[in-house]
Amino acid sequence: MKTCIITGVSSGIGREVAIMLSKNKQFQNIAMLGRNKEAIEETVKLMDHDNINIKIWEVDLIYPEQVISVINEIYDKFKTIDCVLNIAGYTDPQPLLSTTLDNLIHTYNVNVFSPLMIIRESVRYMKKNGGKILNVASTAGMTSRPGWISYASSKAALISISQTLSDELAEYGIRVYCVSPGRCATKLRKRLAPDEDPATIMQPEEVADVICKLISDDECCLDGQNIVIRKQIRK
């Protein structure tokens, strides 16, 4: 029995990944983490339930200390943790002079500290048998983004965390992946670019497809890199 933990499952990329994983049966236990229970239940309805245990843990990632006990609960329930997918993200884009400390802390808690706590607690269990960790960063973490300082810098941190942990956890047979999607039609993208037509950019299921391929048993040699996911849009 293999267990996968996913955050950000209430919508967008996380929802699509959860649906795909329920269908491909790579994992027998899927732990769904998020704060919006109703939205997560909507995702669960869309998943294939045959021969799979799906369980929701209500947790708000703006409180990194909360995730510690949740990961231990997941291990106690399923007795194994094999894969961690940090997909949840938060943004409240502000220019420097309007950015508050609260904005920075909120963004970093969701985008950096909670993912890192989830990884730390999971690795305590994963290190005996190996596994996979995948963090969803952003192309915003790779280049200058005036007006998005908290979001862009938090994603840069997540890229760095992924690269460092890829080396630090290699001995345990734990592979760490990082993907940086470009423009993708999610709720978060809508906050960053409210005037953009979502139909003209990459769709969440296309990113989810790449993620599921990366964490499949067949994949090798792409860990430790920041993999950019972009789609050529023909106009």
Binding site: R124, Y125, K127, K128, D167, E168, A170, E171
Partner: protein, 226 residues
């Protein structure tokens, strides 16, 4: 089942650092944890006796929790000599077979431990050929030695608990000091001590340069990041 004694009492004077070498970081992890994690993975070992200075006990206990070490860990006091540290550790051994290892050798692999455990003789040591010429002497050469007849004694080692306890008692009575235990067993009992093939990667972190070399060995030999 085996007990494992992990010697961690060294002061690290040759390293010229404030902290003993076994608590310095190698590949981002305290050196002692490299060995503790591997010992924890061996199902043949059901207790680990860490021999250390009292002042480091609490930080090791914290690391045991952080790294989720599940094997039962017992603490023994470091002695004034390596030999006394082993003697102190042996007091806590509850099995009739014991493995002795030292925290400053972080590159003994799981396979090394398994081959040692599975070796035929109840008393065995990892050993490796000596790749350089050695002669006898101090300021002047007093005799020649044939390197084909010499072995670079490495750790881990394994022993029959009763045998190793007895030879330590003998050495205490005679006030004789040994630098390791396989030679000691041979000296006092004449029993066969098997040599299990070691590795040139299994270095002991002693001097500052070993930490630099150790990072390369870790990447190539342990993490296999190429």
């Amino acid at each position: 089942m085996f007990s494992a004694i992990l010697l961690s009492g060294g002061r690290g004077k040759r390293m010229k650092k404030d902290m003993p070498k076994q608590y310095l970081l190698l590949a981002g992890k305290p050196i002692i944890m490299h060995s503790l994690e591997r010992l924890d993975k061996l199902s043949e070992i059901n207790e680990i006796i860490v021999v250390c200075e009292e002042e480091f006990k609490s930080s090791i206990q914290l690391m045991l929790k952080q790294y989720n070490i599940e094997t039962n860990v017992i603490f023994a006091h470091a002695g004034t000599t390596r030999q006394e540290s082993v003697y102190n550790g042996l007091k806590y051994v509850n099995n009739d077979k014991v493995i002795i290892h030292e925290a400053a050798r972080p590159f003994a692999t799981l396979n090394d431990f398994k081959r040692l455990i599975e070796s035929e003789s109840p008393n065995a040591t990892l050993g490796y050929s000596i790749p350089y010429t050695v002669v006898k002497g101090s300021n002047i050469i007093t005799d020649l030695l044939d390197r084909d007849e010499l072995i670079n004694v490495q750790l881990p080692q394994k022993f029959d608990t009763n045998v190793i306890r007895k030879v330590h008692e003998n050495a205490r009575v005679e006030k004789k000091l040994f630098t390791e235990d396989a030679g000691m067993v041979f000296h006092y009992t004449g029993l066969q001590v098997q040599v299990v093939n070691g590795s040139s990667f299994n270095i002991k972190i002693t001097e500052a340069v070993d930490l630099l070399i150790g990072e390369i060995i870790y990447n190539e030999y342990i993490a296999c990041r190429k």
